[in-house]
Structure formats: structure tokens, C-alpha cells
Symmetry: C2
Subunit: 295 residues, 2 copies
């Protein structure tokens, strides 16, 4: 990412941080709000909300109307991490270099904080989106949000992932997990930005295809980093896939082929934008950064 692009990315990221902090209050009972804030404000790349904001901007010239929905998507992402880390799921102690939610607040609060975020995210969309956004658009944004969060997308990926531990799974199953566990949220991020921009169908489809490519690239990179990274670099425990005997892109195709696949997916993603006249340095840089990510 060059300096100029980096500056814009940081501007979006800071806006998201500030708004997340603003949207989630601390009220009685403080424990649940603090638990929600702990995970949502624990840093992270904020890739998804930045994608939402930039997609909205590039397609209509403004991004203000997408700020609440962008933050809601980040809340959903946090929610999925809180529940994924639970002892009955992946049983992780660290996330983004900090203790996981249930390690700090206890298991019952972590379950409830996740639940609370699942409802608070659409609440933020409903209550904070500017009234200039037409009701029909808002309803469509909400519908795509709850579908992505639910058993047809995000959760189905998680279910099949858990069920696949220690099993020799097919390429189709591996793809299903990644399509839904990671891909669905990337698609939601881009589509939400496009919908709030009032984009026509061709552009909506183009950003969906871009999201499909980089979502897959992101997940393959996750599998690569689980092998090559340290706890310090990664912010979470590495080597878990091998330890759990998990089938990953790396175990399936090997390290070199996986790296090549990431490279070509990121290039294909940029080509899609180019082809449809979507001129965004940020979205290009995001695709490239996935190829270069270390955490």
C-alpha cells in the first residue's frame, strides 16, 4: 500500500474505531456492555467495514450513509470470533494478542455478549443509518445482513468446520466451509456498501465477485499463516490446524500451490474491478495486502 492509500485506509479505520466506541454504550448491567466492547474494540484490521465504506464511496461518491452498517458488520465479525473461541468450540485463549472474551468475562457472559451483538448490530443499522436512505434499501441491507449471519451462511460454515475436525474431507466440503465461514462476510461487506450506494445490478455483481475472490484468498492465507506464523505475529495461537488434524488448503494443495493460488485470486479480484470501471486504490490495495499479510 502506498502512502496516500494507506492514509485513506487509516482515515476509514479510525472512523470505524471511533463510531464503534460511540455506538456501544456502557450501561447497567455494565458487565455485558463491557464484554461487548472488549471484543469489538480489541483492534483488528477493520478490513470488512473499510471495504463497505470504500465500496459505497466508489459507487456513489459518499460513504456517510454506510457508516452504521459497516460498524454492524464488524460487530457481527466480533460476535462470530467470541463464540468461535468458546471452550465448546475452538477453545482459544488468545485473539488479537489479548485474552479471549470468555477468559476475561467468563463463559456465560461471553455467550451472552455474542448474543447481544447479534441483535445490537441490526439495531445500529436501524437506528443510526441516516433517514435519507430509502426504507426499501434499508430493508434489503437488513435482510442480507441477517441471512449472512445465519444458518444459511456464516453458521453453516462454522458447523461444517467443527464437524470436519480430524476427518478427511473433500475439496467441496473445504470450499463450503470457506465460502460460508469467511466468504459470506466479505460478500456482505461489499454488497452492503453497494446497496447503500444505490448501485445498479452490474456493479453489485462485480463487487460480489471481487469479494468472492479475496474472501477465498484471505482464508487460504489464514491456513498458510497458521503454519508459518508465531503467536506474536498472529495474535492468536498458531499451529492449531495441524494439532487438530484439520484439513486446510495447505494440507490439501501444499504450501507452494496455496501461495500461488492466493496471488492469482488477488490479481483476479483487481481485474474484476478494472473490467467494470470501479476505480478504487483502496480495494486494489486490500487485495494486494491479503497477498502480503502476516497476521
Amino acid at each position: 500500500m502506498n502512502q496516500e492509500t494507506k492514509k485513506i485506509f487509516e482515515k476509514y479505520k479510525n472512523l470505524v474505531e471511533q463510531k464503534l466506541d460511540e455506538y456501544i454504550p456502557v450501561k447497567y448491567p455494565e458487565k455485558i456492555w463491557e464484554s461487548m466492547r472488549y471484543s469489538v474494540l480489541a483492534g483488528g484490521k477493520r478490513l470488512r467495514p473499510v471495504m463497505t465504506l470504500e465500496t459505497c464511496r466508489v459507487l456513489c461518491g459518499s460513504y456517510e450513509q454506510a457508516v452504521p452498517a459497516a460498524c454492524a458488520i464488524e460487530m457481527l465479525h466480533s460476535q462470530s470470533l467470541i463464540h468461535d473461541d468458546l471452550p465448546c468450540m475452538d477453545n482459544d485463549d488468545y485473539r488479537r494478542g489479548k485474552l479471549t472474551n470468555h477468559k476475561v468475562f467468563g463463559e456465560s457472559t461471553a455467550v451472552l455478549a455474542g448474543d447481544a451483538l447479534l441483535s445490537f448490530a441490526p439495531q445500529v443499522i436501524l437506528q443510526q443509518t441516516p433517514s435519507t436512505v430509502p426504507s426499501e434499501v434499508l430493508l434489503k441491507v437488513l435482510e442480507e445482513f441477517v441471512v449472512a449471519a445465519g444458518a444459511e451462511k456464516l453458521i453453516s460454515g462454522q458447523v461444517v468446520d467443527i464437524d470436519s475436525e480430524g476427518k478427511q474431507i473433500s475439496e467441496d466440503t473445504l470450499n463450503f466451509i470457506h465460502e460460508n465461514k469467511t466468504g459470506a462476510l466479505f460478500k456482505l461487506s461489499m454488497r452492503t456498501g453497494a446497496l447503500l450506494a444505490g448501485a445498479e445490478n452490474e456493479k453489485l455483481q462485480a463487487v460480489t465477485d471481487y469479494a468472492q475472490k479475496i474472501g477465498l484468498a484471505f482464508q487460504i492465507m489464514d491456513d498458510i499463516l497458521d503454519v508459518t506464523s508465531t503467536l506474536e505475529e498472529l495474535g492468536k495461537t498458531p499451529g492449531k490446524d495441524a494439532q487438530e488434524n484439520k484439513v486446510t488448503y495447505v494440507s490439501f494443495y501444499g504450501m507452494e500451490a496455496s501461495k500461488k493460488r492466493v496471488s492469482s485470486l488477488c490479481q483476479e479480484a483487481c481485474d474484476i474491478l478494472e473490467k467494470h470501471g470501479i476505480k478504487s486504490d483502496i480495494l486494489k490495495a486490500i487485495a494486494q495486502s491479503i497477498n502480503e499479510r502476516v497476521n
Copy 2:
């Protein structure tokens, strides 16, 4: 409940059962959908969705437009029970005379089935509500739904409830728990029906006040039944409150005063309807049935 009222109640209840069955499909991965169906279709009184349908009917003459939202509220109710029963929460083995969700499907699936229902419920409202309902009304229904489900209502009640175990809590705290853990969903049920009926503010307030009264009555009766009932009658393990040293209405005011309070709350609820010209045998009968409930 007289025979005629009972017949109407059963008609509503059967419609809710049928629609819940219809709305929740079984698709890949089957385990998550079956887990959702297991708890949602496990019977129960269906009090809340019936309240939604009848409130809508009595205020505008039809209830068809409220069927999806009524079912969504029942899904939310099921969700809260699945997560309440988890080992890290109340750790219950039985619910409605059947093994709890995590006992049948395992803990991780039970967490995810609850998560899935939290998103599926608003999805049903969004996708199944007839298009004759104005977008503004639908947005308001959705907003009240996610607020009731979240950390401002349902979850705050659950958090304070868990935190209060084995502690000597104040009357205010006890009221806070019940207001939010039980009351919020009763209010949501009635208000959703009224909103979908296009009710004016006075009627909306009246049904809210009714819900407030019977919500509290329902919860006090819960506390009474936990002392007086058997597993067979109750469908869940009785005596848990005393075992966990929990402050309840009964331990606070004594058995007799609690019974009297239920009686007068149910009467007050009926008086509110009367005063505002809301002529519903079903809503009256529901108030009375709470006074007479055995499970």
C-alpha cells in the same frame, strides 16, 4: 377458558405450530437446522405468538400480517431457552419434558442453533411478512424486535439473574430481572401485534400495560411453580431456585402474598383492556390462565 375461547386459542396455536414447521427448513448442514427445529417445535404453550395474533386481530380485524412476526417471537423465546439451559448458564437437562438442546446435539451446536435463531427470526419477519405491510411499520417491528432481544432488555435480565445467584438482592434488582427476562418478550408480543394492526398510540400503550401486568404475573407464577410442582407437571427440573439459593418472589414475599399478587395483576390486566375498549376473550382468558397455570 370456556370451550369457545379454547377453540380459538387452539386455532391460533395450531397455525403457529404449522408455520414454524414450514418456515424452518432442513437443509445442509442438517444438524444445525434439526437442532433449531428440535427446540422451536418442542411444544410449549405458544402464549406469546397467540398474544401477537390476537392483539393484531382485535385492533384491526385481521391477523394474517402478524403470522411471521408472531413466529419470529416464538423463535426468539426458544433461542433464549436454548442458551439459558447451557452448562455454562443454568445447566438444565430437561425442558418441556424433553432433553435440552445441548443434551441432544452437543454444546457447540446448541450455541450455534441459538445464534442461528437470533438471525433467522428477523429473517422470517423480513421475508414472510405480506408486502401489504408498509415498510415503515416493518422497520419499526424489526427495531422493537432486536431491542427486546438484546442487551437493553432480554439479555440484561439474564445477566443480572446469573449474577444474582446466591446473593441477597434488592426488590429493585428482582424487578429488573423479571421486567427484562420475562416482561420484555410479553411486551414485544403485544406491541408487535398492535404495530402490525396500525394501532393508534393509546391502544399501543394499553396493550403494553396489559403485557407488563401479565408478564410480571407469569414470572411470579414461575417462581411459585418451582416450589410446588413436580418434574412431570413442569416439564423441567423443579426446586432449582431453592437449590441455587435464588431470591424469587416467593422467597421475598412468601407464598401466600405471591399468589395474591398474581391474582390481582391478572385482574388489573383485564381491567386495562376493558377500560380501553379492547374486547378480546382470548386476552382475558390468557390473563386468567396465568392465575391457574400448572406448568
